[in-house]
């Protein structure tokens, strides 16, 4: 077997995490640099994965397969298709920015006992999450995926609960209580989801006898593995529930606003741009791959839920008083789009959904991180505490606006491509669904522009009058993201070329054909 590139990509940050955690308390800055370097090295590895991957080659490439727990029929099987590659690249790309953006977030307020090393912990946890996320994107063994799908909750939990946003949310001064509430809520929601999935995973083993995605998919395709309809549906529900919690899909979404609201901006980005993607990714790879029939059976309900998420999330975003909660609800709306695209079961929809995962990662990162910089300056998350920032910090305002425009998927920016694909894909099969979903476009404009207007325009509030503009470090974080947003908006072809073959495979998994246009159908 050749050099285990995927393993290396995942192991590097894991090792880096341990190393970072081991840095002595006094050498805080060293830990930061170490983390940054490791994340960059990981990015380099991810890029090599991207290069080594041949979109038109086999479905799963760079595969690795070792025996792991024969007793449970579990193998250590890695392999990526276009979708996995894209998401691994996204993850590896975002982490350096997250690290850089969170540079000062975990500096201890006052020097506690020399044993207490929050900074080291913070960056170590981020790297740990990266490692686990990469593994779960690369896993082609259901059990392996499940292990890391669950395990990544723990570092995330500590990141949310341990390193909360120092800015007060205004609703309640008792920040730490709120924070641990948010952390516990995050953990319990996802844990319950995961445990229910565990039941389904066990069930799958009882039915299939192993956990290899490829084997099971093939067996299902060529009929050697029969699954009773009801069994398949139950198992599907078990899997889907966990992913729907993670994604999150209405009505399982309420943990996200708390989590994103209470955690620091970089962590919030980590949650919504990286970790939650595992949920949608898993829907595409496992729900559709393992249970095609059940997926089709559940589609109507899921589409309705997705629509609700889109509209409901957007409306709630409009109603928020807290910047970060607003972004959180916006994300819920976007996840609605992604799920819509996945279950529209058309090539456009699924390509769109995949692109959406990447683009949403970038756009939310841009918006949220700038919001984080803004919040860190004023020390408040309340929209009402801002006003006229544009006058004193034009660059900050400008980047914020671009992030916002990306969020409302303005043509020319990356999210537009994916959102339109999703809409077309949904419309092609379910016109009504497509039309209702377009309402999301208008609402997105509403919450974004309202946010921008209230914070950035109008007369300058005295509290913000002295606000400094973006610093070099912060600009270094935002500029590349914006460049990517524009670049992928104007020329998304590389991404689509990467994704299309994988989508074709998924479509064949679920034995779905794109609906023909009337004109051709007529002929």
């Amino acid at each position: 077997m050749s050099f285990p590139l995927l393993t290396a990509t995942a192991v590097l940050p894991a090792v880096g995490a341990i190393a970072t955690a081991a840095v002595p308390a006094a050498r805080r800055t060293a830990a930061k640099w170490l983390a940054l370097l490791v994340s960059l090295a990981t990015l380099a590895l991810a890029v090599t994965v991207l290069v080594r991957f041949d979109p038109d080659g086999a479905r799963y490439q760079l595969t690795e397969s070792r025996s792991w727990i024969a007793e449970f029929g579990v193998r250590y099987e890695l392999g990526v298709d276009g979708i996995g590659v894209a998401l691994i690249a996204l993850t590896a790309l975002l982490i350096p920015f997250i690290v850089l953006a969170g540079w000062h977030d975990a500096d201890p307020l006052e020097t506690k006992s020399s044993r207490w090393r929050p900074t080291q912990g913070f960056f170590a946890l981020i790297l740990a999450v990266e490692a686990m996320v990469i593994i779960s994107f690369a896993a082609t063994d259901v059990f392996l995926f499940y292990i890391f799908f669950e395990a990544m909750l723990i570092p995330m939990y500590f990141l949310i609960g341990g390193f909360g946003d120092r800015a007060h949310s205004g609703t309640d001064e008792n920040a730490s209580a709120q924070r641990s509430y948010a952390a516990v809520k995050f953990l319990l929601y996802n844990l319950v989801g995961g445990l229910i999935m565990l039941a389904a995973v066990i069930g799958l083993y009882v039915v299939a006898g192993n956990f290899s995605l490829q084997e099971i998919t093939e067996a299902r395709a060529n009929g050697t593995l029969e699954m009773a309809t009801s069994t398949e549906r139950w198992l599907f529900l078990g899997f889907f529930f966990a992913f729907a919690v993670k994604a999150p899909l209405w009505p399982l979404h309420t943990w996200l606003p708390n989590a994103m609201g209470e955690s620091t901006a970089p962590v919030a980005v980590l949650i919504t741009a990286v970790v939650d993607k595992v949920g949608t990714f898993a829907m595409l790879r496992f729900c559709l791959g393992l249970f095609p029939e059940a997926s089709k059976w559940a589609t109507p309900v899921i589409l309705v839920l997705a629509l609700i998420s889109i509209v409901y999330g957007a409306l709630l975003a409009v109603g928020q008083r807290d910047i970060k909660r607003l972004v959180a609800y916006a994300s819920i709306s976007h996840f609605g789009f992604i799920i819509l695209g996945i279950f529209a079961m058309t090539s456009q929809g699924q390509s769109g959904a995949t692109l959406y995962m990447v683009n949403h990662g970038l756009s939310t990162a841009a918006l949220m991180l700038v919001a984080g910089f803004l919040i860190s300056r004023r020390g408040s998350r309340l929209i009402a505490d801002y006003g006229g920032v544009q006058k004193v910090a034009p660059v900050l305002a400008g980047t914020f606006l671009i992030g916002g425009l990306a969020t409302l998927s303005l043509p020319g920016l990356a999210p537009f491509v994916s959102e339109f694909l999703v809409l077309v894909g949904a419309f092609a099969r379910y016109p009504v669904v497509g039309i209702i979903a377009t309402i999301g476009i208008v609402l997105a404009a509403l919450y974004t522009l309202v946010l921008y207007q209230r914070t950035m325009t109008g007369p300058v509030k005295p509290e913000v009058s002295a606000m400094p503009d973006l610093r070099a470090r912060e600009l270094l974080v935002v500029a590349p993201l914006i460049a990517l947003l524009i670049g992928l908006g104007v020329y998304p072809k590389p991404l689509t070329d990467l994704v299309n073959p994988a989508v074709k495979h998924t479509m064949s998994d679920v034995q779905q054909k794109d609906p023909k246009p009337d004109v051709e159908a007529a002929k």
Binding site: I69, L187, L188
Partner: protein, 554 residues
């Protein structure tokens, strides 16, 4: 599928025929080699008594610790040797005139018990935690068990530097009993073993240095309820004996599934009487369920766990469970498989109750030891789910779970002994607030144990839980699995609560201090962590072990 055929799924015919000849009493043959683990431990215990009698007080402690450690190590070596010689698999057979089975499960569990006992002995021997009293280091046991708490007699004893070094022989006796318990092959041996390991435990519970009233209360409760349950067990044995005319597992099994050769009229008469069989079986099972702490026979657990000296609690929670589950497995798989259609539904109820009750009640606990007690109840439920799978996987998964669980438990209780304030161990949860800030390492270790209890992937807890649930599902108990995951979700909540408390809440000013333990406790904790992670990340080897060991001899 005929009863005997099912039976042979997880049992195999033994080399030596069980001695159920009654008319002539032939000279007993004892396979000392195969009983060596037990004999070593018991012998060491006796030696310990002699040490108490003859060795001067100053050196007793060291002598006892030495003897205990050596004995347990040697016994473990013996077990390994036996297993290596294939007594676990091919050469498995019944020794000591049909009294003791030497087979896979027996050896696996004995090994586990011995290791657990060894680690526990380390925590017994810990003398660095309590502040030095009158110039001599003290462990967590009463200076003089007889002295009245708070009396000048007690103070005198402490001043004189008395220590209850009897705990070591007592523990060894208990271990000896536990070694026999899962390998007992007739009901009498079962009962004797039960008593042999129970009585020392009753005493050990009463020996706490701090909070002696609670300790004595725990002992009384444990003793009364324990002997109450063993009375039921004994009556059950009587009835079963009445039914089958023998107490030998093999014979009873044969009688139950009607494959017994010669039937005398009396036997024919009693065989017809299912009431004897069913009531007897139920009572025996009840006796064992009491030991594993299953609902509704669990109520002693929280009180005893709280009152007993923490090292003893750890020892009990780990070793007792292992032994009791071993006996339960053998009973259900070797003696009563013919009855499974009768007891499985009932056990379903017990399992569900145990899993849910344990998890739910734990939520509102405020004392860390009680919390762990309830969590152990919930875990008993999970293990039972594997027990009633009635598949070969059921056996091996339970064996694996027990191995994984016992070390986590000892480790967790060992950590509890470290967190102290003026009144000894600070077991109230509020005291643990902000521990993560004060001493991150200890908090992190404890968090690892809690996550293992919660069954988070990459910890032994997850592998074990997965194994038993998988077995249960394959055994057609899918509903149990669902209930299981739900209750583990509930359980997760309170483990998380403790973690939140340790890491996310501000430390109190009058918070407890974390004692720096001697290498003894450190090894105990270290072993716990190591096992937790190894069994979590790479469980394959141990699963294989459990798999090979997964066949009973009959």
């Amino acid at each position: 599928m005929s009863a005997s055929a099912v039976h042979s799924l997880w049992t195999m015919a033994s080399a030596a025929a069980p001695g159920d000849a009654i008319d002539k009493i032939d000279t007993p043959t004892i396979e000392y080699a195969q009983l060596s683990p037990t004999l070593i431990v018991i012998g060491a215990a006796v030696l310990g008594i002699l040490i108490e009698a003859f060795v001067p007080r100053k050196t007793r402690y060291y002598a006892q610790v030495f003897v205990a450690v050596v004995a347990l190590t040697a016994a473990f070596a013996a077990v390994v040797g036996l297993a290596a010689n294939g007594y676990g698999t091919t050469k498995a057979h019944i020794a000591a005139m049909g009294a003791i089975a030497v087979d896979g499960p027996a050896l696996f569990l004995q090994g586990t018990i011995l290791l657990a006992g060894l680690v526990a002995i380390f925590t017994f021997a810990e003398r660095r935690l309590d502040p030095v009293a009158h110039g001599n280091r003290v462990d967590s046991f009463a200076a003089q068990a007889g002295s009245v708490p708070g009396s000048e007699g007690e103070q005198a004893a402490t001043k004189a530097g008395f220590t209850t070094t009897e705990v070591f022989p007592l523990a060894l006796f208990a271990v000896g009993g536990m070694l026999v318990f899962p390998s007992a092959n007739d009901l009498l041996t079962l009962f004797i073993a039960l008593e042999v390991f129970s009585l020392p435990l009753y005493l050990l519970c009463a020996l706490a240095r701090r909070k002696r009233l609670m300790s004595q209360e725990a002992a009384v409760k444990y003793f009364l309820l324990g002997s109450f349950s063993s009375a039921f067990l004994l009556f059950g044995i009587a009835l079963l004996y009445g039914y089958a005319g023998s107490v030998s597992y093999g014979t009873i099994a044969k009688v139950i599934d009607g494959s017994v050769q010669e039937i005398n009229p009396a036997l024919a008469d009693t065989m017809g009487n299912d009431a004897l069989l069913l009531i007897g079986a139920a009572m025996i099972v009840m006796g064992l369920l009491f030991k594993v702490g299953a609902v509704p026979f669990h109520m002693w657990t929280p009180d005893v766990y709280e009152g007993a000296p923490t090292p003893v609690t750890g020892f009990m929670a780990a070793a007792t469970k292992v032994a009791a589950f071993g006996a339960l497995l053998r009973l259900l798989y070797v003696v009563l498989p013919g009855l499974r259609w009768d007891w499985r539904p009932v056990m379903w109820g017990v399992v569900i109750l145990t899993m849910l009750a344990g998890a739910i009640v734990a939520i509102t606990q405020t004392d860390i030891k009680r919390l762990l007690a309830y969590s152990s109840i919930a875990h008993a439920g999970f293990i039972l789910a594997g027990v009633i799978a009635m598949t070969p996987d059921g056996i091996s998964s339970v064996l694996f779970y027990l191995a994984a669980y016992s070390f986590v438990t000892i480790g967790a209780f060992a950590v509890v002994t470290l967190v102290r304030d003026a009144g000894g161990e600070a077991t109230h949860l509020s005291k643990w607030a902000g521990l993560g800030r004060r001493s991150p390492l200890v908090a992190a270790v404890f968090a690892v144990f809690l996550l293992a209890f919660a069954g988070i992937p990459l910890t032994s807890g997850f592998s074990g839980k997965f194994a038993v649930f998988k077995a249960a599902a394959e055994g057609g108990a899918g509903a149990l699995v669902v209930v299981g995951v739900l209750s583990s979700a509930i359980a997760a909540f309170f483990y998380i609560r403790v973690i939140v408390l340790m890491f996310f809440s501000e430390p109190k000013a009058d918070g407890p201090t974390v004692a720096v333990p001697s290498p003894l406790t450190m090894t105990a904790i270290g072993v716990g962590v190591a096992v937790t992670l190894v069994l979590g990340v790479a469980p394959q080897y141990f699963l294989d072990l459990a798999n090979q060991a997964g066949v009973f001899v009959r």
